[in-house]
Symmetry: C2
């Protein structure tokens, strides 16, 4: 479920990756007009249909803006883009996440999960607590025997469980769309803090939810995020 290695790229995938890389690397800047579909198709030796389909995909990611009968332009993706843009950045850069991207992910987690925590604290049942303690124990049992990427997947699932239990399905929806980006974050986090520390925090969250302390749970999340960002900045300065 985790590995999704692509050994051979299709022409369309190759095209999308190339343009994405060129835009994010700064070769093309927001407002620039990209070469025409025919031009790019001829240059890469592929069909115009493929280029067109690729541009459509880039447009849904918010990286480009298609102006019919006129041209395709690089969008101001940091302003008008959506979460797909973040996913694209992560998929391209792998584990080398820029500070801005990490900050964006954490801002989002605080908003979505913070609200989920507040809601869950208001409506949590005894079964919810038992369930959370159970999956936390599962993670602790296997933490030493699996890789950091797989462990990151479990942390993602744990936090998504908070959204599911809160009953606000739209929060879960959003968590799903941040999957790729979240995995990359958790992998970084686990490498920095270690698995034991991270799992302890899961138990602290559960305690606060059991005590129906919404503010406390929110503050634990917020302070953890602030601490992580501070460490990131101090490491960058070293």
């Amino acid at each position: 479920m985790i590995s999704d290695k692509k050994t051979s790229l299709t022409n369309k995938e190759a095209f999308v990756r190339r343009i994405t890389k060129e835009i994010l690397s700064g070769k093309w800047k927001p407002g620039d007009r990209l070469p025409s579909e025919r031009e790019l198709a001829a240059e890469m030796g592929i069909g115009k249909t493929v280029v067109h389909s690729g541009f459509e995909q880039l447009a849904t990611m918010g990286l480009v803006h298609i102006k019919p009968k006129s041209g395709t332009f690089v969008a101001d993706y940091m302003k008008i883009g959506n979460i797909e843009t973040l996913n694209a950045i992560v998929q391209l850069n792998g584990n080398e996440l820029g500070r801005d991207v990490v900050k964006a992910i954490l801002d989002l987690r605080l908003a979505i999960e913070g609200e989920a925590l507040r809601t869950l604290c208001l409506c949590r049942s005894t079964e919810n607590i038992v369930h959370l303690r159970s999956i936390t124990k599962d993670i602790r049992d296997i933490a030493d025997n699996i890789g950091v990427e797989e462990l990151a997947e479990h942390f993602f699932i744990w936090h998504r469980e908070i959204c599911i239990l809160s009953g606000k399905s739209v929060l879960t929806l959003f968590m799903n769309t941040t999957h790729d980006v979240s995995i990359a974050f958790w992998a970084n986090y686990l490498r920095m803090y270690g698995a034991s520390f991270a799992i302890d925090r899961l138990e602290q969250f559960t305690d606060l939810i059991e005590a129906r302390d919404g503010e406390g749970a929110y503050n634990l999340l917020a302070s953890g995020i602030a601490d992580y960002l501070a460490r990131l900045d101090s490491n960058a300065g070293s």
Copy 2:
């Protein structure tokens, strides 16, 4: 900016609308296997490429799941879909929003804007307050002379401004992706409460931000949403 009337549909648009309608109406249920691309193409008298492109679009909306070389299946869109799914529902149903969709939008607004309000209360400048009062006055000045749809656009922009001023750009990103869905909501809200009441609330928000009362601003948002949902339910029962 608001009107986006399509007088003539392309084959692809017609196909996407048809399948979307059939899925949301319940003709196809999650897990069902849809007819093959060739079958649908022949039935509608269009090219297979068009059907394929349409399925790709439906897949990005989270409505279907494409299993290569095997078939296209209806996705459990309420669980694995994303915000595009909500937009699709709104575009199909127009102003006739189901209760579940409205609830989802409001859950989302509370999470995103609630966080933006808290953040803004911590970092607001005097200029921010002046700016908010200025655009609020602008809305009040023109409220009586424009239609409810256009007014809804202004309310959307006002609330997006909260995200922008908070400095957390990812929240603005998410607000952008909810544009269509938000406009539909505000139009409903304004018809229910009237413009005057809604604009008064904008001023109350500004007062609380000026007082750096993050909890108060959050509670104003939350109570407003709860009240709206309660009115919605009581109307449904009449």
